[in-house]
Each structure stands twice: as C-alpha cells, then as structure tokens.
C-alpha cells in the first residue's frame, strides 16, 4: 500500500504564509491603532497567539494527517486537523481534476489538486508537482479506461 504524503516543503510554505500574514496584520494594526496603545498591544498579542497556533499546532497537524492513496478503485484521502476525516471518492464518479498553482508554490515545486465528482469536490493542497500530475492523470486515465488499480 503506497500512501502519498505531503513534502516537508509544503509545511514550510504554510508556515511562511502564516508568518507573512502575521507580519502584515501586525504592520497594519500598528499603523491603524497607534493612538490607542491598549488596543494596539492587545491586537498584537492576539495576532502573535494566532500565529503561534497556526505555526506550531494547526499546520503541523494538518501536514501530518494529510495523506492519500488509491484502493479498490477509490481515491482515499485522510485529512483533518482536530476532527479526523477519511474521504473516499469512487474513481468512476470523478468528472475532472484541476491542478492549481499559486505564485508562492512555484519556487517550492508544489501544486494543489481539486477533484470534482458529481455534486461534491475534494481539495488536496500543496502536493509535489509530479504527484499532483500523477494524481490527475491516474484519475482521468482510470475513469477513461476503467482500469483497476
């Protein structure tokens, strides 16, 4: 059973995003609330707490739990952060698969995948680009040929 896990650089990217968001939030809060020292400090502390939460808890848990594999003609994805989820999509019902790449993913060689089924969809963030392409090809090819995994 080969499970595909996220590359370590996915976690690095998420942490960088969290850091950038925290920096921007702090910058603007300081700029806007400079005349209200109490509220300024409070909002900066809350931003710091939120940053630490995402940096140390949320993203590491998300990264650890996200894996996917093919089994019995189904795409199975384990995900979740505090709630654990196992999502199962029969390959025959997958309609199409979309690859998404944001500018910050390019230097890390990452891509996100959106799997569209009838009435539902599934988002797999920050996979290796080659894994994302493989996933896309596998889903589409198996749907086309009815190939058994």
């Amino acid at each position: 059973m080969n499970k595909t896990v996220l590359p370590a650089r996915a976690l690095l990217l998420w942490r960088l995003r969290a850091a950038a968001a925290a920096f921007l939030a702090s910058f603007f809060l300081t700029l806007l609330l400079s005349d209200f020292s109490f509220w300024c400090r409070l909002s900066l502390i809350l931003t710091g707490v939120a940053f630490l939460f995402f940096f140390c808890v949320f993203y590491p848990l998300k990264y650890t739990k996200l894996t996917y594999f093919f089994h019995s003609e189904q795409l199975i994805v384990d995900c979740g952060v505090f709630y654990s989820r196992r999502r199962v999509i029969p390959l025959e019902n997958i309609q199409y698969v979309t690859l998404l790449r944001t500018p910050d993913m390019l230097p890390f060689g990452l891509a996100s995948v959106m799997v569209h089924s009838v009435g539902t969809s599934l988002y797999l963030p920050c996979l290796r680009f080659c894994d994302a392409q493989d996933l896309q090809e596998t889903c589409v090819r198996r749907r086309k040929e009815g190939e058994i995994p």
Partner: protein, 520 residues
C-alpha cells in the same frame, strides 16, 4: 429526412412580454419628469407617441422571440432553436434525458397549453434544463413517444393506485406550518396594498376579536400565534392533498411514470436506470401509526416548488414492501449491520436536549425579570418546548433505528434529518463521496460519523451518527489491507497522542510530525 419544426404555444408570448416589461420604466420616467417640471396633461399627451412606441417595441420584441423559438422532437432527441441575432441551437439526445414531465396548470387549461420539462445531468440543481409551453396534443405526443421508447413488449405494465387514506397521510406528513404562516402573513400584508388599508385593518381586527373570544383564559397573543400555526398547517395540508390527488404510479421496463394532481395535473417519466436512491421516510406521527412513505431521488423529479417527489404515499411496512417489490424490485432494504453503540445515546440527544433545558430556564429568568409579562412568557416557553420535545423523541427513535446495511452493491442507510426518519436505499454506483468524520471525543471509543454524498445536481448528504469506524471502513471497502484486525479483539485505552491523532493510530503507525520522513 428532416422533420418539421414547430412553434411553442402562443400563450408563451405572455411569458416573453413579461421579460421586456422593464422597458415600461421609460414611459413612467417621462410622466414623472413631466410632473416634476410643472408640465400639464396636454404636454404629457403630446409625447404619448413615445410611450406607444415603447409598448409596440415590447410587443414586437416578444413576438420576434416567440417566432424564433422552434422545437423539433425526433426519435434521437429534442432539437430547439431560438434567437434572431444571437442564434442558439440546442440538441438534447433522448438517451441523456433523465426526467420528462408534463404539467397542466389550471390557468393554461382553457387555452390548451401544457408545460413540458426536460431534465438531464447537465445544468444547475435549481432550475430545469428545458421548459416549454406547448399545445396539449404536441406535448402529449412527445411524452408518449418517450414512454414508448422506454417500454418493452415482453415487460407487463405494473400499476399502483394508492388509497385516499394513504394520500391524506402523505399530505399530513408533507405539510408544514411555516409555509401556511408565510402565506397568511403575505396575504394580510398584501391585502392593504391591493384593496386598501381599511380592508386590511378590518381583517386584522376580525382576527383579533376572534382570538379574544376563543382564548379560554390564555393570553390572546399566545392564542393568536397558536391559531396562526394551526391554520397555516391546515392550508399547507389542503394544498398537498390537492397536489397528490389522483396519484398513480406505473412501472415500465426502464421507466417509472407518476401522475398526480386534481386542479393542476402532473405527469412524470423517470428513466429507471438513472434513479439515484429511494428514501423511505417516517415522521413521528407516522412512526406511531406504523406508516411509511417512499420518495424517489432522480434528476428533475421533485425539483421545483410544487413538484411531486413521492412514489408510494403512505403504507404499512408489509404492504410497502409488496408495492416496492412490484414497482422497484431492484431496490430492496437490508437489515442493519452496523449500528451505534449504547453509549452513543448522549451524542444523539445532545442537540435537542440543550434547547429543551435552556428554554424553561430562560423562561423562568425572564418571568422573574418581567413579572407583568410572566403569563405570556410562560405560555411562549411552553409552546417553544413542543418542537424541542418533538425533536428529542425523533432523536431517541433515531438512536434505536439508525445504522447501515449492505446487500451486494446496495446500501441501506438509516438516519434522521430534522423531524424525519429516513431509510435510504442507495446503489454503490450512485455514491459520490464517503466521509468518515471522527471528533476527538469519538476517538476514545473508536467511533465516527458517516457522511455519504449521493450523486446529485446539488450537494446531497446522508449523515449517520456514531458508528464503529472499523466496521464502516470494512463495509465501504476503504480499509487498507495491512490495517490491524478490526471488530474483534480487545480495544486498548488510547494514549493522549492517539487522542489528538485518532486516524493516525488506526491507519498508519504513529509518527510525530517532527520525525516524519521527508520526501524521497
């Protein structure tokens, strides 16, 4: 040889005129500006030719649109052509049509118009793909040719006529006070604008006097609310009764045909191979009476506001099984194989229990704070308690009946949604996505909530609570081959780490994220 193209019914012109009515804003604006600039009627009449021109433009635009809308039905499919400048040609192959329906609205009956609707997997879940108003005979011919195509000579027609009593039961199940209350509220508020404020005040005054006269010692406001709910429900009930009158179901080889309606008649033709699932529903009342209703889920069936979605109105379990076997032998319910454990009771009743306890507490506090309103607050609190207790009983029944079963490729899902108990019979090929969701609390006793999304134009979820995670994985074949043995064997107490990462414990050896092997 090309078959001739036809126009839709001329009454469609009214529909098309409606689309261009926004152009009347120009005559209205002209009149307004004339009045504003101190002009007199003579001045306004001087430019009346512009208004006449706009009205003529509306009529001619509608006519051109109607003239350019042509259709052709052929054995291969339905061809539609529309537009003069921006021409659109549309062809829907017969094989892709899932549901075709004919509606005979009472207001179109005098002119012989019938609404033909065609639905496929394409399009949105909110509206029908194609809706045309056709002459009665033409629409019936199209409908008959489809029925003929889906029938087979070696298959004898099966027909089911439910008794009037069962239709009454179904109407009662489907009725809700909310729709009726909404109708009465709109009726009273619109009366003022249509017939004058005096007439609206008279209606409100009569209602007020009536409630005061039959209040029987209760606060009049409470009685008014209660009567509004009761009459709202009655209105909804009568509407449903009229809608489901003359209900007949016919089964052909690859078609399910359903006819119903007294004032507005409706006929539906559903391709059998495209039925997503059947849903056997019970409300609390029908549960007590031992009655079940069967609903069909297919693209285009039960899509619009006044559509029918039932297949068997209401029946006792044995009879229901007989009728179901007659009409849809492909869909047979299987017994529960996976069900919630005894300890899951709290998980089921928590949602209704919170308001059930909170409402009396809030009522007591408010009556202490506002003693002059105590009677009113108490009566409102008691009335609010009724739906909560109702919901609590439904959840209790759900606890004793929910679960999943599997027989070959057919799944039977038993669960509750709102105030209804559902038994859904769903083929495996009609499952869009299965989600096993485990909260940190559920991880302690290795349970999970199961969310099954069935194929549908819009998201359609079946939620079954608190099942054994390993059994669910086994029944849906989403367990890895190398997973540790499930069901049997003692269950060790989970550690704190397992508590935080429940699936990690089940599905792969636990490795903290800081020790996770990086990409190879």
């Amino acid at each position: 040889m090309n078959l001739p193209e036809h126009h839709t019914h001329p009454i469609s012109l009214v529909q098309m005129i409606w689309r261009f009515l926004f152009l009347l804003i120009f005559p209205a604006a002209r009149g307004f500006l004339t009045a504003l600039s101190g002009g007199n009627i003579a001045e306004w009449l001087g430019g009346a030719w512009k208004d006449i021109l706009i009205i003529l433009a509306i009529l001619s635009l509608a006519f051109v649109q109607w003239w350019c809308l042509r259709y052709r039905w052929e054995p291969a499919g339905l061809f539609i052509r529309r537009g003069l400048l921006f021409r659109r040609r549309l062809f829907i192959p017969t094989a892709k049509v899932i549901t075709m329906s004919l509606t005979y609205p009472f207001y179109l009956k005098p002119v012989g118009g019938v609404r033909l609707r065609v639905d496929t997997w394409a399009g949105t879940g909110k509206s029908t793909d194609i809706s045309l108003i056709l002459p009665k005979k033409a629409a019936q011919n199209i409908f008959a040719s489809r029925t003929e195509a889906l029938a087979a000579k070696d298959f004898s027609l099966r027909e089911y006529h439910p008794k009037g009593l069962y239709i009454t039961c179904l109407s009662a199940i489907l009725s809700s006070s909310f729709a009726g209350v909404l109708f009465f509220a709109t009726f009273i508020s619109q009366t003022g604008s249509l017939l004058g404020q005096e007439f609206a005040d008279r209606i409100t005054g009569t209602f007020e006097r009536l409630t005061r006269a039959i209040a029987w010692g209760l606060p009049p406001a409470t009685v008014a609310l209660a009567y509004l709910v009761v009459f709202g429900w009655l209105y909804s009930f009568v509407r449903n009764l009229i809608r489901h009158g003359k209900f007949v179901v016919r089964r052909q080889k690859d078609e399910l045909q359903i006819d119903s309606g007294v004032v507005t008649n409706r006929s539906y033709s559903i391709r059998l191979s495209e039925i997503n699932y059947i849903d056997i529903r019970q409300s609390l009342l029908t549960k007590l009476l031992g009655l079940y209703s069967v609903f069909v889920n297919a693209v285009g069936y039960g899509k619009e506001k006044d559509d029918i979605s039932a297949m068997i109105p209401a029946n006792l379990w044995d009879r229901l099984q007989r009728h179901l076997h007659l009409l849809l032998p492909e869909f047979s319910a299987s017994p529960r194989q996976v069900k919630p454990n005894a300890g899951a009771l709290f998980r089921f009743i928590l949602d209704p229990l919170l308001p059930t306890l909170a409402i009396p507490a809030a009522g007591s506090i408010l009556s202490v704070l506002f003693p002059s309103w105590a009677d009113f607050i108490h009566s409102i609190a008691w009335m609010s308690m009724i739906p909560c207790l109702w919901f609590l009983i439904v959840r209790l029944l759900d606890f004793f009946s929910s679960g999943i079963g599997r027989q070959g490729d057919m799944f039977t899902l038993r669960y509750s949604k709102g105030s209804q108990l559902h038994t859904v019979i769903l083929p495996q090929s009609r499952i869009s996505q299965v989600v096993l969701r485990q909260s940190p609390i559920q991880a302690f006793d290795r349970r999970c909530d199961l969310l099954v999304y069935s194929l549908s134009e819009k998201k359609n979820c079946h939620h079954i609570r608190n099942l054994d995670v390993a059994q669910v994985m086994e029944i849906f074949c989403c367990n890895e081959e190398n997973v540790r043995p499930i069901i049997c064997g003692p269950k060790p107490l989970p550690s704190w780490t397992e508590y935080l990462h429940p699936f990690s414990h089940y599905l792969r050896p636990w490795k903290p994220f800081w020790k996770k092997p990086t990409e190879g």
